[in-house]
């Protein structure tokens, strides 16, 4: 082994504290990258394989009732490859053990063979047999949630008649990777199920013989989905078309894509921050370590080593530290990735979803970290070798000291000798002091940015479920029903409050831009059960005429206050309206239009119809009441708020885990930054400090000089870090699809304090470690060494 290599190893051993902390910071960066990017890649490849294998459709349309003959016309639309028509209906499933019925979506399949599109993947049991009208295949998540097996009976309300269906198979489908019911954004495996039944069994039940109400189409290569969807809408117009959209609006796909998009961006942004901090740290640490080794570098140059050889020597040092961090990061990332995929598995149902450590992801991680490490190191190395050896071997010329303004003003006279030394050091090397503060600031920012997701979710939950949504249960109907249902409900035993609600699906259009949204009539009750959660929190002012729309919808459509928009009602007589936008809502998710109840009634030409009723009730009466509500005619679903909340918590659980990991990583970085600053400060000043000890200063006094400097970095760095943290939160939040979520980048004072405390603790631990070294300062030894 070459002598220079031995030096490398011994330097590593000597610098182990710093090497380990830097490697850990790098490991955090790589692990976050491998975990998130790996999860992303795994989900994408699982999606692609599944969609491809099960022939997931490109265009989806829903219609009231169209005769079968229309199907062949749809197949002739330019760009369409395959058309598959079917019957899709929502029914209620009064499953045992649940007070409210679950919602079941019946999807017809051909009596024989697989559907040409959106085929199911059978997990257990068998396909339905022709001529058996009671056989169903059940969605796996629903079957699992209720422990249903092939052979079990499932009670269902089919068009008003209760019937026991026999489960013959359990399956999954690319249409229901993320399975939610109509109008819901929260998955609830217990309360939403899909039942696949033979079309000849379904049709008579809903009087749909010779007709269909749902279309799936695939596209020819290069065809435009948007054009096909528009053309299909035109063809289906006479039959009461409800929706005709590309895959993007298919709910399961939409949610999956939203998640993937966010994960994809997050997987770049977060590791970039970690690796950026690691590079910064490497730069600062190496610059100073090399500065301390300038004598050794000069000697190496004196005896004939070239700049390249010396440079490589330090590059190796960096590569070993960063490389070790990278390997650790990959192993850790693999483990965390397995866990992360495990958290996704219950929500995104794929036949084969496994975390695969993609070699290209691992390689990218290593290349990025080594590059950032070297970028951090090379400038320091270049600076170190550029000094002529004769100059580098001389003790440094005394630093040019001038009395800074602060001192001339007499401020420093107040702080004693130790304080004066600290202040002079800071003021005379402002760049170094600034870099140190920035390092501390980043550490604080990362902890805050890691933790803030807790706060944002908490805020969202409290705004939505405590402020905006106070009902105990919502009963929604398949179609709007007369308002008399409100009175009926009010007289049921246990009911405290009832509030009618009217929501209507519309297409809202301004010039060429349009979105399919719901218009929600806002009740004029004094203390409503349901309001709109806005950020910043305030009551939504519903205009007395016209509509208010989500601010985001206004942005998308390019609508200004007072502009008129075209509204096409997507139910009933499908009327077209021209309505002024008289307000904007700062609501936090989805795109909506809001108006006064009488305005909506006028628009629709109806009186007092409701699409759902909201109730509060006495808890004692709950089960009897829910059972009674489920028997109301035309009920589509009965949903308790407490269940939504519970599901929401469960569904965001993976976010808690991610948050915890990020916070932990942030804390490691905080420690890495502060500890390294402290160690470097110690190395650079040990001579001065030993001199002070020799002159009779106590340990406490010299500690004050060194740790005072550290304390100043921490004290200045933390507030800067809070600003940086807010900025990072904004960056992270901007990765969400703004049409789905507009969560505020919000952190409580507690979280900011948490960031500050973690950094301060890291500072304290580092200070103690350095203090221990100070106590063992070798006075004679230190004074003898020149460097």
């Amino acid at each position: 082994m070459r002598a220079l290599d031995r030096k490398l190893l011994r330097d590593l051993v000597r610098l182990w504290g710093q090497a380990v902390t830097i490697a850990l910071v790098v490991a955090c960066g790589i692990a976050s990258f491998v975990t998130m990017r790996g999860t992303y890649v795994s989900l994408v490849s699982a999606r692609d394989a599944y969609y491809d294998d099960r022939r997931f459709g490109d265009v989806f349309a829903h219609v009231e009732r169209a005769p079968d003959i229309v199907a062949s016309r749809l197949a002739e639309i330019d760009g369409v490859a395959v058309v598959h028509t079917r019957i899709v209906r929502d029914i209620l499933l009064p499953v045992e053990g649940m007070p409210e019925p679950a919602v079941g979506r019946i999807v017809s399949i051909p009596p024989r063979g697989e559907p040409p599109l959106d085929a199911i993947r059978l997990r257990r049991g068998r396909m339905v047999e022709p001529g058996r009208s009671d056989e169903v295949i059940v969605l796996e998540s629903f079957a699992d949630a209720h422990h249903l097996q092939p052979g079990d009976l499932l009670p269902a309300v089919l068009n008003g008649t209760k019937k026991d269906l026999r489960i013959v198979g359990v399956a999954m489908s690319p249409e229901f990777v993320f399975a939610v019911g109509r109008g819901s954004f929260i998955q609830d495996a217990k309360r939403f199920g899909v039942l696949w039944m033979a079309r000849d069994a379904v049709a008579p039940v809903f009087r749909m013989e010779g007709a269909f109400d749902d279309v799936v189409a695939s596209l020819q290569p290069g065809a435009s989905g948007t054009k096909v969807a528009a053309e299909m809408r035109r063809h289906l117009e006479p039959y009461g078309v409800l929706t005709s959209d590309t895959r993007d609006r298919q709910i399961s796909h939409h949610v999956l894509e939203g998640e993937l998009q966010q994960l994809g961006t997050y997987a770049v942004v977060t590791p970039a921050i970690f690796l950026g901090v690691a590079a910064f740290l490497l730069n600062v640490v190496l610059a100073r370590t090399l500065h301390l080794q300038r004598g050794q570098i000069a000697t190496l140059k004196a005896v004939g080593y070239t700049n390249v050889e010396i440079g490589l020597h330090y590059v190796e040092l960096v590569s070993i530290i960063v490389g070790a961090g990278a390997v650790l990061g990959i192993v850790l990332g693999d483990l965390l990735g397995q866990g992360m995929i495990g958290l996704y598995r219950p929500f995104f149902r794929f036949p084969d979803l496994a975390f695969r450590l993609d070699p290209s992801v691992a390689a990218t991680g290593v290349v990025v970290s080594v590059t950032s490490g070297l970028a951090g190191a090379l400038s320091a190395v270049a600076r170190a070798v550029s000094v002529p050896p004769a100059e580098a071997m001389r003790p440094e010329a005394p630093t040019v000291y001038k009395k800074p303004l602060l001192e001339r003003l007499g401020v420093l006279r107040l702080v004693g000798v130790s304080g004066r030394m600290v202040m002079r050091e800071l003021l005379r090397r402002p760049t170094r002091a600034l870099l140190s503060c920035i390092g501390v600031a980043w550490a604080t920012a990362i902890v805050i940015a890691g933790y803030f997701a807790y706060d944002s979710l908490d805020l969202l939950m409290s705004l939505q479920f405590e402020g905006a949504q106070r009902e105990d249960v919502e009963v929604s109907f398949l179609r709007a029903v007369p308002g008399t249902v409100t009175n009926e409900a009010r007289h049921l035993p246990g009911v405290v409050e009832v509030e009618p609600h009217r929501a209507v699906p519309v297409r809202i259009r301004k010039d060429n831009a349009y979105r399919d949204v719901a218009v929600l009539a806002q009740t004029d009750r004094e203390i409503p059960l349901r309001t709109v959660a806005q950020w910043p929190p305030r009551k939504l002012e519903v205009p007395p005429s016209g509509i208010a729309i989500s601010q985001k919808l206004g942005d998308v459509l390019g609508v200004r206050l007072g502009d008129r928009v075209q509204i096409e009602v997507l139910e009933g007589d499908r009327r077209m309206l021209d309505v002024p936008v008289n307000g904007f809502a700062e609501d936090m998710f989805g795109l909506f239009a809001y108006c006064a109840p009488n305005v909506l009634a006028n628009m629709l030409g109806e009186e007092g119809n409701v699409s759902s009723i909201l109730l509060t009730y006495e808890k004692d009466e709950e089960s009897a009441l829910l059972e009674r509500l489920a028997t109301f005619p035309g009920v589509a679903s009965v949903t308790r708020r407490s269940e939504i909340l519970a599901q929401f918590r469960e569904q965001t659980e993976h976010m808690w885990v991610t948050t915890t990991i990020l916070t932990l990583f942030g804390a490691i970085i905080a420690f890495g930054v502060v500890y390294n600053q402290a160690r470097i400060a110690l190395s650079m000043r040990s001579r001065d400090l030993a001199s002070l000890r020799v002159l009779g200063f106590t340990r406490a006094e010299i500690s004050a000089v060194l740790l005072g400097e550290l304390a100043v970095y921490v004290a200045i760095g933390i507030p800067i870090g809070m600003y940086l943290g807010q900025w990072l939160m904004n960056v992270i939040m901007s990765t969400a699809d703004p049409e789905s979520y507009r969560m505020p980048a919000f952190a409580t004072a507690r979280t900011f304090a948490f960031g500050a405390v973690v950094t301060a603790l890291a500072g304290l631990v580092s200070a103690l470690a350095v203090r221990r070294k100070l106590d063992h300062l070798d006075l004679i030894g230190v004074l003898k060494t020149r460097e």
């Binding site: 002598a3 004196a302 005896v303 004939g304 080593y305 010329a397």
Partner: protein, 249 residues
Amino acid sequence: MALDTPVPGHGTARPERAVLEARGLTKVYRMGEVDVVALRGIDFDLFRGELVVLLGASGSGKSTLLNILGGLDTATDGAVHWSDHDLASATEAELTSYRREHVGFVFQFYNLIPSLTARENVALVTDIADDPLDPAEALSLVGLADRLDHFPSQLSGGEQQRVAIARAIAKKPELLLCDEPTGALDAETGRVVLEVIDRVNRELGTTTAVITHNAPIAAMADRVVGLSDGRIAYVRTNEVKKSPSELTW
């Protein structure tokens, strides 16, 4: 005995050509906020196989001269020639290869790498030299055969300086430049170190320049060059060289 002859330029009229030749060397440093003129137009020659002592008080410019002769630093003005190479106009890479191939250095503060043992400190140089001595052999030449695996912190000052000498001679340099090699040592240890340098000069024939502010050391030289205030004050030849063991200070 030695006779003092204030001679500008060449020392004595020697028949052979100088291996190292400096003309009109000037060096100005900027230290903090002051300009320091270290050399003021020096002419100096070094002849093959001789041992020269550069004698001068602190600040006389002798270290600066040595650094420039050794390619550790460049002159502000003037010319330096090593054989046919012009060091004054050499690039940094050329200076590096000059040091690497031809020059061995010994410094006042040893400049050993603290994380390497004696043997490894020598190996640092033999790793990059053509046809070097074995590090152990070099160390036994300076009387440290039994201290091969000691770290600098485990060696006395004299021993550390001898390791530095072993490191300098291990590559069999043509030129050995010693900057105050005894400056940090007591007289007894200093003599041991000087004996090693003397032996290297005699036995290996290495052209040697030793810098010192310690006048009695001049007695071991073939030639003594006195420096003062950045100029050569005198050059004298020792008719009779003393052995380092006879020196006292």
